[in-house]
């Protein structure tokens, strides 16, 4: 059976060119980039080359890129690093209810350390209202963190507008209010430019755009006051300690370069497949609805609620057919809670438990979409026939 992978938002296979570029750095070019000798100089040059590739992808300067071990670490670093470096200026942070847990949990940690956090609501499409950001800013606000696009529902937030609002408010306050965006779901997938967006910090993760797992980066605009998150060495310009993950960093660099080149074509093709899949699902299966915004939406993201049945049982049935999909975020699939993102949209518990996400990528084809459209309606039918909620609704 040919397997169909439609969980690219959870992780992607490493691009063969990325793997090829990484190969020499395991056994041959293995020096510690901090070492003075030739083994070290060689890998240091490789790390700096990758830094350039990543910086170029998002329109940043070399020195503004700090490599981390993941998107989660980049998020933790941004939130805690800004908070602890600026706590004398203020102790208030603004974020949204639909952020990834890698933002929400550091915020909760900071609450236990005396910080105040405002969690902004979103509208039924998952959009944050820049006016709400404006209203939430106080003279104690030091940081706003709003994701560029949501991983579950794919909604793309109005980052530029939010940036404008923050800058205006900050100039009135007379102190800096930093603006961070979690761009883990966008970098390498849609255009991301730090100056256009007007952000001070931006998180990335290589494995979401055909780089390896275990490497990410935080963009930190020059002049930003931030303390290190991982402490204990002079690496990364004293901003992130530990022997550099040379192989991973080289891989992230090449993945970034590939993405710059292929961005437009990847995006167009995915939008085509995405819209075909959304239309097909909504047409073929009664009582389904799209979650997230219809157009301000990641090219890869299809998220629908299927009434009367539950997410995991859909996934497992799809898996029997060789189709890999997901309910919301993979990171919390060990939990029983319904998705906090879907709940924030105003969905019922049932609706939140009954959602499924297909996320598309490089290797998906038209046939893959057709296969899903053929298989999935049958699965829904089977599960609905078992559902106590569906009774008497067959005719509706």
């Amino acid at each position: 059976m040919k397997k169909i992978y439609m969980d690219y938002a959870a992780t992607t296979p490493t691009h063969p060119d990325v793997l090829a570029a990484m190969q020499p750095y395991f056994c041959e070019k293995f020096g510690n980039p901090s070492s003075v000798h030739s083994f070290g100089r060689e890998t240091r040059a490789a790390v700096e080359n990758a830094r350039k590739q990543v910086a170029d992808l998002i329109g940043a300067k070399l020195k503004e890129i700090v490599f981390t071990s993941s998107g989660t670490e980049a998020n933790n670093f941004a939130i805690e690093g800004i908070a602890f470096a600026n706590e004398k200026v203020g102790n208030h942070i603004i974020t949204s209810k639909i952020e990834h847990h890698a933002i929400l949990e550091p915020c909760e940690f900071l609450e236990s350390k005396g910080f105040k956090i405002t969690y902004l609501p979103v509208d039924k499409y998952g959009l944050v209202d820049p006016k709400e950001v404006e209203r939430a800013i106080t003279d104690k606000t030091i940081l706003v963190s709003i994701m560029q696009a949501n991983n579950e529902i794919g909604t793309i937030e109005p980052i530029e507008e939010i940036s404008k609002v923050i800058k205006e408010a900050a100039s009135k306050l007379g102190h800096k209010v930093y603006f961070h965006t979690d761009a883990v779901q966008t970098v390498g997938q849609i255009e991301v430019n730090v100056d256009k967006l007007g952000v001070d910090l931006l998180s990335m993760s290589a494995h979401k755009f055909y780089g390896p797992k275990g490497v990410g980066a935080l963009y930190i605009r020059s002049g930003t006051r931030i303390v290190p998150f991982i402490r204990g060495g002079a690496q990364e310009n004293h901003r992130r300690a530990s022997t550099e993950n040379v192989v991973g960093i080289v891989g992230m660099g090449v993945a970034a370069e590939l993405a710059s080149k292929e961005l437009d074509s990847r995006e167009k093709e995915l939008i085509r497949l995405r819209d075909k899949l959304i239309k097909g699902l909504l047409a073929k299966i009664p009582q389904t609805s799209l979650n997230g915004h219809p157009t301000k939406r990641l090219p890869k993201n299809v998220n629908i609620s299927v009434k009367y049945i539950e997410g995991e049982s859909m996934l497992l049935n799809l898996d029997f057919e060789g189709i890999a999909a997901s309910t919301g975020s993979a990171c919390t699939s060990g939990s029983l809670e319904p998705s906090h993102v879907l709940m924030a949209l105003g969905l019922s518990h049932e609706g939140a438990h009954g959602s499924i996400r297909f996320s598309l990528g490089r290797l998906n084809t038209e046939e893959d979409v057709e296969k899903v459209l053929e298989v999935f309606p049958k699965i829904v039918e089977k599960l609905r026939s078992m559902s106590p909620l569906y009774k008497g609704k067959e005719e509706a």
């Binding site: 319904p338 049932e350 559902s387």
Partner: protein
Amino acid sequence: MPEPYSERVMDHFKNPRNVGEIENPDGVGKIGNPVCGDIMEMYIKVKDNVIVDAKFKTFGCGAAIATSSMITEMVKGKTIEDALKISNKAVAEALGGLPPVKMHCSVLGEDALKSAINDYLIKKTGKGLPGWKPRSEEGHHGKH
């Protein structure tokens, strides 16, 4: 980090036994709520104190469906007294174990069965299981 399901869970999930409703059941149990994402309905037919048929309808995850399937299999042919002895652990064991995070599904299964028996007893004798309350409603939903 979901722990994988056992083969028996997967078998009962893939081919659930006893799906459906019983017309004119002797007892019906409904348990669970949409908040936790699992809802079970269980139907039993009783003859001479023996459960001669059992069916279910379930909204829920793989473990919830497999548990419903397994428990309806287990009760068929049992007396009411023996059926009441089926614990959630016994169901989980019969399924080759459940991931810790899914153990509550087996509690739900036990509750659905007891609730059906309770309903049957009330209908038949006018009073149900003494002091019985669904364990699944004790609020196992902590924050993770």
